[in-house]
């Protein structure tokens, strides 16, 4: 699972566009995209889509299994 944070609130309807990632709008004004990527190429493709929209990327994190089960 990967977690990508971007600046601003992004509408949920972008979910399909971003490979079915879940979009959660945070109270800090940022959006967190969470979902699985099959490989590095898919991750880079996703980041490129974010760049293409002129969105500001804050962070990309790989969530480990433990963290996921806690959530």
């Amino acid at each position: 699972m990967h977690e990508i944070r971007i600046r601003g609130h992004l509408d949920e309807r972008w979910s399909e566009w971003f490979d079915g990632f879940t979009l959660v709008q945070g109270s800090d004004g940022n959006t967190t995209l969470t979902g699985p990527v099959i490989d590095q190429a898919a991750l880079h493709g996703l980041l490129r889509r974010i760049g293409d929209l002129g969105l500001t990327l804050i962070s990309v994190n790989l969530l480990d299994e433990k963290e996921q089960s806690c959530q």
Partner: protein, 887 residues
């Protein structure tokens, strides 16, 4: 590959764009100060293309001699040949003086790139090449090509790259050397003044300075954001409320404003936008097909007027595209509505492209629609065309995009896939595919194997012939000559009486088999039949190309006059009926060698220059090396053996094994030159590496190498030469290869003479003269130099008086127009030539061109010169050489 003019269209400055003098000036300074590269790197919507349009309009309004080439890149330009072809097309549009031919899929990209650099160097214009949307380029070989281009950038070419992400170029190095002008997001953001000017003046909005500041702050000067904001504000009465609400929201700028813009767009316009968002380029008729309406042309024009992110791609408003950012938003929303809807739109687009004869886009949209049977059907229909043009543009990529089971249901595609395996050298994959196709064609439909899906038609009808032909080709590639004969005969038997193409191919394969077995007369006959069939099939290019193969067999048969006549006839046809196109340059290269042999060196060279003038497109991929072999022959005849070796090295680079018998390997040609240069150790290393000995079993395919070995043994004064020559002569005479026999007799004469056996020497020489005179051989004798001259003079004394022998003796003295030895041991003849050119005004690429060598070879020579003269610059080398009196 059709070149789309829309990709080369220089977008004019937009009426509603704000002038940005600070950025234009910076860009301009980069050009004026001679920097190599301008990089405009920022995310979408920062006004990169708009800025470049403004700058170019400014350059053009100054009426300078600067010419601009523009190339808009797309995702499917990630193919080095396609990319380079577009670069060449763009540059040629800017300056038609640039004469480089487009590449074929088989062309060597590095060679073509070097040629392009040379050519740009040659022309007098100053050029700016803009590569827009470079972020689409991810192919490593294109990035390598760009690095090469930057390193060898002609001084009259300035490169501009506009990209959403930094290209993989050595940017740090360019920065350190001050060779790059960069405009990045921070530079491109609207300043508060620019934002104010844009909103109030350009867009004509009545805004308070506080509103302007709020908008500028919220969008952070992002041009696309401000543009969307301006659109949302048009005809609004509650401006301040709107700005306040927007400024107070956390929502992504695009989401917020697009919603506003779309909400205020009439429903039918909104439908149009969403339906056509799947298209990469838009035209009235295409949009009509996708929307199933008939007012698209008017719609596109009104969208452009309303500034709704529609960008014209040509002067006459025929094609448009949406702004990338805008179309991404539309597509994302479309996708959220469900993929079935999207697929249906792609299918409509595919249908329209198919009807307009654009199979590339028809297939692309069919694949997007995941309509694989449709894609497969279109691909299948393009195969005859692909075969005819001998260009497999994209078909292999298409096949890779199809599910295996779709291909496996279509014997036509399976056989094409087998062919592509064969030509790419994946030999093991060929037969299983052919067998599967055969099964699809012949087995009665069953549950396990239902009837196949290939469309009925000539391609399917001729498939059994095609399968036999490919099996014959496969057998040829693996050296199974009896199988070649069997399958070629089967193909001939199966071919319909009107399947001339199939008959031509089958006869050609039989001819190749005969050639490889050394049955040259039968080979000539088979290729004669092949040529006749190809003519009947209307394929004059391939018919004329057989002349080269026939010539390769006639020459060893000693039929020089016939060879020359065949070339002359073919050249006339190529010039009259094919307009000097393919294979004219190949034919010029071929006839040159025959003329050289007959002592007509000047005419031989003229043919090579004529071939060069016709350009790369008149050469075929598989025969390109011949030009270099023939030029080497001319140079060698002039005594310039280093130059000849360089040319042979170039020939080797271009030589492709293919299906042709390798009767005269280039490495053996090189060994022969080493022997004349007395570089016996190198020649010996070659012979050992080839495991050649004087006791080998002889075959036609090793004949040239064995004669070379005999020459080496003679030069080494080693035993075995005479015995080997005797055996070679016997083999050559048994198969009536009198051209080869002539050469062997000449060598025998020299060998006997050296042993003091004048009687035998004279006998061999007389026999050679007997055969050679009617065919007009000259170099056969003259290339052997002084010892042969002596033998010929002795022959005259002994009563062999003839005009022919006198003419030969004259040719010995004429051959002496070679550059005389330098008198110094320091540099070689070749290096001296390079030195002389280094002393000229010519640039490196120009010198390489002058000497017909690659830049790399030139660098090697230059390095040797520098080492020998103990210098490290061109100027120092030239000065030092002058001091030494070398030049």
């Amino acid at each position: 590959m059709p070149v789309l003019a829309t990709k080369l269209y220089i977008p004019p400055p937009r009426a509603q764009a704000i002038a940005r003098p600070r950025l234009v000036t910076r860009t301009d300074e980069g050009l004026r100060s001679g920097k190599r590269l301008t990089l405009v790197s920022a995310p979408a919507g920062f006004g990169k293309s708009t800025l470049l349009s403004e700058w170019i309009a400014e350059i053009q309004s100054r009426q300078t001699s600067i010419r601009v080439a523009w190339l808009s890149l797309e995702a499917h330009d990630n193919d080095p040949v396609r990319f380079l072809n577009y670069v060449i097309s763009a540059l040629r549009t800017a300056d038609p003086e640039i004469r480089v031919d487009l590449l074929t899929p088989q062309s060597a990209v590095d060679v073509a790139l070097a040629a392009l650099v040379n050519e740009v160097n040659r022309v007098s214009s100053e050029l700016v090449l803009v590569l827009d949307d470079f972020q689409f380029i991810e192919e490593p070989s294109i990035q390598e090509a760009m690095v090469f281009l930057l390193e060898h950038l002609p001084s009259n070419l300035h490169l501009v790259i506009s990209s959403r992400s930094d290209p993989l170029l050595p940017l740090a190095r360019l920065r350190a050397r001050g060779e790059i002008t960069e405009l990045r997001a921070a530079d491109l953001r609207f300043t508060p003044d620019e934002a104010s000017a844009f909103l109030t003046q350009t867009m004509g909005l009545a805004l308070s300075s506080a509103d302007v500041a709020a908008l500028e702050d919220r969008t952070e000067g992002w041009v696309a954001g401000l543009q969307l904001a301006a659109l949302s504000l048009q005809n609004r009465t509650d401006v301040t409320d709107f700005v306040a609400a927007f400024a107070g929201s956390n929502r992504f700028v695009v989401d917020y404003l697009m919603e506003e813009v779309l909400n205020r767009t009439p429903l039918h316009v909104r439908d149009f936008l969403f339906q056509t968002a799947i298209l990469d380029r838009l035209s009235g008729p295409l949009c009509d097909a996708v929307t199933r309406k008939s007012d698209s042309e008017a719609m596109l024009e009104s969208l452009e007027r309303a500034n709704l992110f529609v960008i014209p791609l040509d002067d006459h408003r025929g094609w448009f595209r949406y702004h990338h950012l805008f179309v991404d938003v539309l597509r994302a929303r479309l996708l959220a509505d469900g993929p079935e809807h999207v697929a249906a739109l792609h299918r409509l687009a595919s249908e329209w492209f198919e009807k307009s004869g654009d199979s590339e886009d028809a297939v692309r949209h069919a694949l997007e629609a995941q309509d694989f049977p449709r894609a497969a059907r279109i691909i299948e229909a393009t195969i005859p065309l692909v075969r005819k043009s001998r260009q497999d543009w994209g078909v292999l990529n298409w096949l890779a995009a199809l599910p295996e089971e779709t291909i496996a249901r279509r014997p036509v595609l399976v056989v094409f896939s087998a062919w592509s395996s064969l030509v790419s050298g994946d030999i093991a994959a060929v037969e299983p595919q052919l067998a599967h196709a055969e099964l699809l064609l012949t087995a009665p439909p069953s549950e396990d194997l239902p009837a196949h899906d290939s469309e009925p038609g000539p391609e399917l009808a001729a498939l059994p012939v095609t399968i036999a032909l490919y099996r014959a080709s496969l057998a040829l590639a693996t050296g199974d000559l009896p199988k070649v004969e069997e399958q070629a005969a089967l193909a001939l038997a199966l071919a319909q009486p009107v399947d001339y193409l199939g008959q031509g191919a089958a006869a050609g394969l039989l001819g190749l088999e005969r050639w490889a077995s050394g049955e040259l007369e039968n080979g000539v006959r088979a290729f004669g039949e092949s040529a006749a069939s190809l003519r009947r099939a209307g394929n004059l290019t391939d018919a004329l190309t057989t002349t080269l193969v026939i010539a390769d067999m006639l020459v060893p048969l000693g039929r020089l006059r016939e060879t020359q006549a065949a070339y002359e006839l073919a050249l006339r046809e190529a010039s009259d009926q094919l307009n000097g196109g393919l294979p004219a340059a190949d034919l010029h290269s071929g006839i040159s060698e025959v003329l050289s042999e007959r002592g007509e060196l000047e005419v031989a060279e003229e043919h090579l220059l004529a071939a060069e003038k016709l350009g790369e497109a008149a050469f075929s991929h598989e025969h390109r090396y011949r030009w270099f072999v023939s030029m080497a022959r001319v140079r060698q005849a002039h005594g310039q053996s280093d130059a000849a070796l360089d040319l042979l090295a170039e020939a080797e680079k271009r030589y492709r094994r293919g299906f042709f018998a390798e009767a005269r390997p280039i490495d053996a040609m090189k060994a022969r030159i080493w022997i004349t240069q007395n570089r016996l150790a190198e020649a010996r290393a070659w012979a050992d590496q080839q495991s050649l000995t004087s006791r080998d079993k002889l075959s036609y395919l090793s004949e040239y190498a064995h004669i070379t070995l005999a020459r080496l043994l003679l030069a080494e004064r080693a035993p075995g030469a005479i015995g080997l020559l005797d055996r070679l002569l016997e083999a050559a005479e048994a198969s009536r290869r009198s051209g080869v026999a002539n050469e062997i007799l000449v060598l025998q004469a020299l060998a006997y003479s050296r042993q003091g056996d004048d009687a035998h020497a004279r006998e061999a020489l007389n026999q050679a003269l007997e055969h050679a005179e009617p065919e007009g051989y000259v170099r056969l004798f003259v290339d052997e130099g002084a010892p042969m001259e002596k033998l010929l003079r002795a022959a005259i004394v002994k009563g062999r008086q003839s005009d022919y022998v006198h003419a030969l003796l004259q040719a010995f003295s004429q051959g002496e127009d070679a550059t005389p030895a330098t008198g110094t041991e320091l540099v070689s003849d070749r290096e001296l030539q390079v030195l002389k050119l280094l002393a000229s005004e010519l640039t490196g690429p120009e010198i390489a061109r002058e000497l017909f060598i690659s830049l790399n070879t030139l660098r090697t020579h230059t390095r040797h010169i520098f080492e020998k003269l103990g210098v490290n610059s061109r100027i120092a080398a030239v000065q030092h050489a002058r001091t030494l009196g070398l030049i």
